[in-house]
Symmetry: C2
Subunit: 191 residues, 2 copies
């Protein structure tokens, strides 16, 4: 007898449910104070039971920490050797926007300027995305260069996904990458 | 007898009042449907009388058109010869952020992804900022190049003003301009 394993279909459902819970928590966090949100409200909005939220995420604090983290997104975003990281980041950002309508790294753009939630998002973004990049950079001013490179990428995401520049949206991602990545790369590995 | 003139003090008050009305309209537009907002509600939030709003802006439609326009901001943003426009735009954006906490061009970043208000902001931004830049560019793909250049600037604004990159905020604006403007300029006047 083989040991029981989760059939692929159920695993997919679990991912979909986790996604729905995450989106519900993000929705509520964008509109209410942290302390006013209950796990029950998150569950209701996600269309699942509160115990299911607990099963997947533990308690409310753990769920909110997950929702406000860039950890998993940064890993994919920065997953390339330094010499071609510029191209990788540009392509990753545009592909996420074109295929899923958003890239999770872009969440920082919507961080509220005031209040605890904005501060947590900002602190996470700096530590999990920008600093994670800057420690990989050789040479002087790695911190400034990392911020400028990531800023450039955020701007491309805003132009593509929020302003929805019609010329960019009519241009192949490979061509945009070709044009934009060298400027990003020049901050990562300056000549 | 000299003709009556508005004393400087009153003119300053008028500007402050117009600013308060504009901010109140933006606040309400970000939270309510266009049709649900009354001039009276805008006036109340701005701490002025409804007739004063009418005096300065005419009717509600004219006020909202003003609030969602980038016309005046674009003029200052693009006010330099093409050969040094990259530097001018970077400096303008950073100075606005450092001195007033925001640059009005950055309003596009907060455009809602859905609904009429976001669509109007997007259409205005494209026509009044991006296209106004692209018609000044010589050579092929002026539209794509203008979108990439403006995107780069928006990203710098997001990193400086929303993510509040600590290294950038500790760096002189002239130095950031020195590092960032060449990439912007390369889309305006490619070699």
């Amino acid at each position: 007898m083989t040991s029981p394993s989760i059939p692929p279909r159920c695993r997919r459902d679990a991912e979909a449910t986790k996604g729905a819970i995450t989106r519900a928590a993000r929705y509520l966090l964008a509109r209410h104070a942290h302390g006013d949100i209950t796990l029950k409200a998150v569950a209701e909005r996600a269309g699942v039971s509160a115990p299911l939220v607990v099963k997947y995420f533990g308690n409310k604090d753990a769920l909110f920490a997950h929702v406000m983290s860039f950890e998993a997104d940064a890993e994919a975003f920065l997953d390339a050797p330094l010499g071609r990281l510029g191209r990788h980041m540009v392509r990753h950002l545009l592909t996420g926007q074109a295929e899923r309508g958003a890239d999770p790294v872009l969440r920082i753009v919507f961080a509220p300027l005031h209040g605890e939630r904005g501060d947590v998002l900002r602190a996470n973004f700096r530590a999990q995305v920008v600093q994670r990049l800057s420690v990989r950079l050789a040479g002087p001013d790695a911190g400034v260069r990392a911020e400028l490179a990531v800023g450039m990428l955020l701007g491309l995401g805003v132009m593509y996904g929020i302003a929805r520049g019609p010329c960019l949206r009519a241009t192949a991602i490979t061509e945009i990458t070709e044009r934009y990545a060298p400027a990003v790369q020049s901050f990562l590995t300056p000549r």
